[in-house]
Symmetry: C2
Subunit: 428 residues, 2 copies
């Protein structure tokens, strides 16, 4: 990465200009019709299909720079585009175009004794800043979700995907142009200068309403630490599956394997398995064996260690570690309340599951576990906007305000109150 | 106000302890039954009625200190309690006890194609920090609203109402005790040390989820500037009433007078009157005369100046001034779009009204004005949680996220997703 200390002042000016343009465009895009927004997204998808070669050429530049810079193969893999990936991005734009428009929907409506009606109506949030790393598809996904919800977006991609993001962004702009919408509704930060991120975190002089970081833990931690505007994010997903004494053993086995091993790198993957010590003694060894046989490393407490000779001892830090890998920590707990207490102490308020056939026990867990998503007899890997029926998501939030859990188009809106009267004045 | 520089470290420790206690109490109060919370509030009201004399004695101390300190009479008036005001506070507690419990309500519920049901369920936010000035009743109102929504509250009153707030807080604690709820669910900062406010704004080491300032503009500005946790607040209410060419003149007159003069010190009072230049030429002078005759100072643009000799010329700063007094600025605009543009430039996104008989014009205004509350043919003074039917409010927020407009018990909650399955695993 090149440093550009000399042009920091130029960056400041450039970023503030971006902010002013976003704010102006936002007022227009907030009022755009559903048809115009859908047209822009469909035209952007068409532009991507027309621009496969320029996109791949731009991407090849990024990939060559990353390889020359000695980046790890896994990193380069996230960066690489091919025809299939470009087509998938275009399809993603079309899927977002097909979603219902959240703007204008009445969330509630009531009449006051004096005859006034009050409606709580969805409106866009305003300007969303997205800060992401190497995956160039985020340019399209995040920009499109913001646009669908009537927001303007300021996208800051990783410098490693600089050329790819620019090529994809050009397609979004072509789509906006085709629909007669302001091009500044989706802007890409045009500099690699790292100072740009700092400016965005400060809000560009009031021009950014929310920041959404998309990337690894160090990016999210920096954003949460430094941002002076609200952030929709989760730092980590230390998700638990608790197998209760009243669990169906076969269901528990299927859920635990899926929750851990379907994909180990997603934030909804289970990282800790809690087993009720009053459960049938055969359950713990069976779960542990299945995990080990599936290629998962198991780090256990004393009870889990005796369950299988391949289990390694867990240390205190294991209970608060998000592995994002084929590793699981396993612990025996004393019933649902002990499971709840463990999750309160070590969890990240992301996603936690109980497996039980006992309804009352399930309700106790669902009520007492203070996480964005709590599940009964379903895999923690369902922690995903698409799986929730949101169509698409920009991420998952573990903050308590406004957006919690999967952040889809609806979560990218706010509301206002529309009061309709016929001359009511307030007495007294 | 005494300074306690030497005891700042003691304050730090004291405040962090308050935060830890609040967090522990919050877990309990979040799960408390509706009955227990209502019982606590009713018992607190009873305790207030039993403690009228001690409350008035404590208040007399504050009042004497304020007078000795040379405080302005208006300030002292906000501070003074009498039997009637204490009874009003007790009645307020009973009214909050009678509100429906927002916690546990399902905001939405749906079934996925795989048979899982997903419910979005209201849960408390957590710990709310309230920073207020001289009105001691806020101790009871704010504490009770937080409690009703299952939150723990940390209250920091003005040092001028220190003794009064302590006496009222003792009644809340008595109520919590009577209901078997943790006393730390409503805590009052026990020191006058101003450093306490700074600690709260930093969030007490993660113990505070939201800050609500209750007081004048300088308090709110400081909180908005310094807080490192989310804030529910409005800095100012520069509210507009726009009288359209198609307004009913009699209705316009009644609405404008009520919107400005019913109470001039509330945040929903109209500060600027915009009149369509295509309206009947008789309307502007009639509105201006009525305002002047009602004792309102009118500061007008050129057109308004010609309407009545008593009108004073408005300067540029008048359009962005919240008078909170019997003063109004008046301007002729060129139809609804010009009114919308004026409000976008000078307004505070609080509350704005259009008076018109033309439905399409009304809809244009309601859609295009980007304020928390927009009204058609109803007074801006309805900007109030009670008038919205929320039962009570902790204030009005002009921020865009989570709570916008009146902040009542529902706005003091967040939500979580409860997913119920029968063994569903995620494919692919």
């Amino acid at each position: 990465m090149t440093t550009h200390d000399k042009i920091t002042d130029a960056t400041t000016e450039q970023m503030l200009t971006l902010g002013r343009r976003a704010r102006a465009a936002q007022r227009e895009i907030a009022l755009a019709s559903s048809e115009a927004k859908a047209k822009a997204l469909l035209a952007a998808a068409a532009a991507m299909r027309d621009s496969v070669q320029p996109i791949l050429d731009a991407n090849a530049k990024d990939v060559a720079e990353a390889r020359a810079g000695g980046m790890a193969p896994a990193f380069v893999d996230r960066l690489v585009l091919d025809k299939g990936r470009v087509e998938a991005i275009a399809k993603g734009l079309e899927a977002i175009a097909a979603l219902p428009d959240p703007v204008g929907a009445a969330l509630a409506e009531w009449t006051r004794p004096n005859g006034m009606t009050i409606a709580r109506v969805r409106v866009p949030i305003g300007v969303i800043g997205i800060i992401f790393e190497s995956r160039p598809n985020v340019t399209a996904d995040a920009g499109a979700l913001c646009l669908k919800a009537g927001n303007a977006a300021i996208l800051r991609g990783g410098s490693d995907s600089f050329h790819s993001s620019q090529a994809i962004h050009a397609c979004l702009v072509a789509g906006l142009r085709a629909a007669g919408l302001p091009e500044a509704a989706v802007q890409l930060v045009p500099t690699k200068d790292r100072a740009a991120v700092g400016h965005m975190l400060k809000g560009l002089g009031g021009a950014i309403d929310v920041i959404v970081p998309r990337g690894g833990k160090s990016l999210v931690a920096r954003v949460q630490e430094e941002a002076r505007v609200p952030v929709f994010a989760h730092l980590e997903g230390i998700c638990h599956t608790y197998v209760d004494r009243d669990a169906n053993p076969d269901m528990a086995l299927a859920l635990v394997l899926n929750a851990k091993m379907r994909r180990t790198s997603v934030c909804g993957a289970t990282e800790t398995l809690l087993v009720d010590k009053a459960a049938d003694a055969a359950i713990l060894p069976r779960l542990v064996k299945a995990l080990l046989d599936a290629g998962c490393e198991v780090r256990g407490d004393a009870a889990a260690l005796t369950a299988d000779s391949r289990v390694k001892p867990a240390t205190e830090t294991d209970w608060s570690t998000e592995y994002l890998d084929a590793i699981i920590s396993v612990k025996l707990v004393d019933g649902v309340d002990d499971a709840v207490a463990h999750i309160a102490k070590y969890g990240s308020q992301h996603t936690d599951c109980i497996v039980t056939e006992q309804q009352a026990t399930a309700e106790r867990f669902l009520t007492h576990v203070d996480s964005a998503i709590v599940l009964h007899n379903a895999s923690t890997q369902f922690a995903d906007g698409g799986e929730f029926g949101f169509g698409a998501e920009i991420g998952i939030a573990t903050g308590r305000l406004h957006a919690r859990g999967p952040v889809g188009v609806e979560q990218l809106t706010t509301f206002k109150y529309i009061v309709r009267g016929n001359g009511q004045t307030r007495p007294g």
